[in-house]
């Protein structure tokens, strides 16, 4: 019997959606190993922990400390590795967010154990079998993890949370983890209130076809109407039209939104790699031979400067209806 640790993530005291996905994966693995899911939540006191049993947590260990309200890499890693080391642990599951990408290798190094990052699936088949896109999504590994414990980070939005009916008993845990080597002293608010392109369920991506930076207003309008985020091709980021945080593709972010609009994007191979797992792709481009149409579910061949305002208007009508 070996337990699986699910490292939950909160920001500003609110649990992130990826935490439910982490719990869902942990539940499946714990059932395979014949153990329990021990969720771990680190943050300021007062974070809502009700209902985590509903996603598969047998126990929820809460480290509540005002000093740990924001992600503090050294202390969070020490808490998680301590938790894994204290009990018979088969795996530690983390979301592959900005936090998880930093945290997972720290835990794995502390435990001197294997690390599989940014997986789109992790299931039990006599051990953990993980599926991991590589080369920016141009190929996919199937991996078998041959020793325990191990650390696995899962790609946000790739796994549908499943309901469960475990107890989710909350226990306070200790945060006596020593002094940090590096310390987060401040979280600066983003320049805009925009949603992160990797987290949004709708992404409106723009490319060179927009002709100049100011024209991204057309995309912001549609993203605004849909509660989505604006994304950008490498070409327009390199041209300085948009911040690199918005870049979608192999050297930017790999996104899996429900709906991706490729506007004035021809579809370079490294960009296509980044949107391959989007559920629905819409392309708007004046060139009928643009490679983007080969992967798009729906396309309009036309002038984006005419199409976009009309599209935003039509969608607003539906939203308001």
């Amino acid at each position: 019997m070996a337990n699986v640790i699910a490292v939950l993530e909160q920001r500003g005291g609110t649990l992130k959606r990826v935490s439910h996905e982490v719990l869902t994966v942990a539940r499946g693995l714990a059932d395979g190993f014949g153990g329990e899911v021990h969720a771990l939540l680190v943050g300021a006191p007062g974070i809502e922990t009700d209902g985590l049993g509903g996603f598969g947590a047998d126990k929820v260990f809460v480290v509540a400390d005002d000093a740990l309200a924001n992600y503090q890499a050294d202390q969070y890693a020490a808490v998680a590795a301590g938790q894994a080391g204290a009990a018979d642990c088969a795996a530690v599951i983390v979301g592959a967010t900005a936090m998880g990408k930093d945290l997972a290798p720290r835990i794995a190094a502390k435990l001197a154990c294997p690390l599989a990052t940014d997986v789109t699936s992790a299931t039990y088949d006599g051990g953990i079998v993980a599926v991991r896109p590589v080369y920016g999504g141009k190929a996919v590994y199937t991996l078998k993890i041959t020793s325990t414990p191990c650390v696995v980070s899962i790609r946000p939005n790739a796994i549908a949370p499943k309901q469960s009916d475990k107890a989710g008993v909350v226990e306070a845990a200790s945060a006596d983890v020593g002094a940090p080597r590096a310390q987060t002293v401040e979280i600066k608010a983003p320049e805009s209130e925009a949603l992160d392109v990797a987290e949004a369920s709708v992404v409106v991506g723009g490319g060179r076809g927009l002709k100049e930076a100011e024209h991204f207003k057309l995309l912001e309008d549609l993203a605004g109407a849909l509660g989505g985020a604006v994304g950008a091709s490498r070409a327009v980021v390199d041209a300085g039209w948009r911040p690199h945080a918005e870049q979608v593709g192999q050297t930017g972010k790999v996104v899996s939104p429900n709906l991706y609009f490729a506007v004035g994007i021809s579809g370079a191979i490294q960009h296509l790699a980044g949107i391959r797992t989007a559920k629905t792709i819409v392309a708007i481009n004046k060139d009928p031979d643009a490679p983007i149409f080969k992967v798009a579910d729906y396309g309009i061949v036309g002038d984006l400067f005419e199409v976009m305002p009309k599209l935003t208007e039509e969608i607003k009508k539906i939203r308001e209806a």
Partner: protein, 250 residues
């Protein structure tokens, strides 16, 4: 200031990936390999810091086969002073053995800073740099988009979902570079010529296999081309209808 930059040889992001005959690795024939793009930011930052300090040394280190010598030479051509190849023909998919080999090399190097790219665009692990820091017990900030170092103290910014974390640390430390940290210089012809004369040491690295086995490498499911709903602005209602009633995403 003595700085190590850890670099990796990867297929160019524009390269088409072909799965090899073993169905576990890629077919490298005809593929253009480059210095990992994120490592370019790491090399540039190291060079800038050395230049600002007025003295020091930048050493480029890679784990890989002999082919990685070319990758190290790219860093030397950009301006690094020396290179070390930790030679291994096999590269485990588990980042731990790679991190252990690098940590063993870096441990006694008296480096003030060790810089990595935040991720290699081949296996996308985001793992080795941060692991090296943990193995060496050093402060670490990953995926940094801004950096300031004054008198042995550092301040770095990393972009996270919905904000920017400002992290303080003291040297020696490990950093991993995000796009936007700087504008990497192109190796000039003079740099390329000089790179040939710079010291480049090759050591055998005895990498363990790690705890992850590759079962298979495959192409992702192909997306089927959909349909063109129409031309120009007149096609908008048909598109909205399809998104709403067919794809059910509105």
């Amino acid at each position: 200031m003595k700085i190590a930059v850890c670099v990796k040889r990867v297929p160019d992001s524009e390269a088409r990936i072909k799965i090899g005959a073993d169905a576990k690795s890629i077919d490298e024939s005809g593929v253009k390999f480059v210095l990992n793009p994120y490592d370019e930011y790491a090399v540039e930052e190291a060079l800038k810091l050395k230049e600002a300090a007025g003295s020091g040394e930048v050493i480029a280190i890679s784990v890989g086969s002999d082919s990685s010598l070319e990758t190290i030479r790219t860093a030397l051509a950009m301006g690094a002073d020396g290179g070390v190849l930790l030679k291994s023909d096999a590269m485990p998919i588990d980042p731990l053995p790679v991190a252990q080999a690098l940590a063993a090399e870096l441990k006694d190097g008296a480096y003030d800073l060790i810089v990595f790219g935040k991720v290699a665009i081949d296996d996308y692990s985001h793992g080795v740099g941060v692991m090296v820091a943990e193995l060496l017990g050093l402060p670490c900030v990953s995926a940094i988009a801004a950096l300031e170092i004054v008198e042995g103290k550092g301040k770095a910014e990393r972009e996270v979902e919905g904000g920017v974390e400002v992290v303080e640390f003291s040297l020696p430390a490990v950093l991993t570079a995000e796009k936007g940290l700087n504008d990497p210089r192109y190796p000039a012809l003079r740099g390329i010529m000089m790179a040939k004369k710079k010291p480049l040491e090759v050591k055998d690295a005895d990498l363990g296999a790690g705890g992850i086995e590759v079962v298979g490498l495959a192409y992702p499911p192909e997306r089927q081309a959909g349909r063109i709903v129409g031309e120009g602005v007149d096609a908008v209602p048909a598109l909205v209808d399809a998104l709403r009633n067919e794809a059910k995403v509105l």
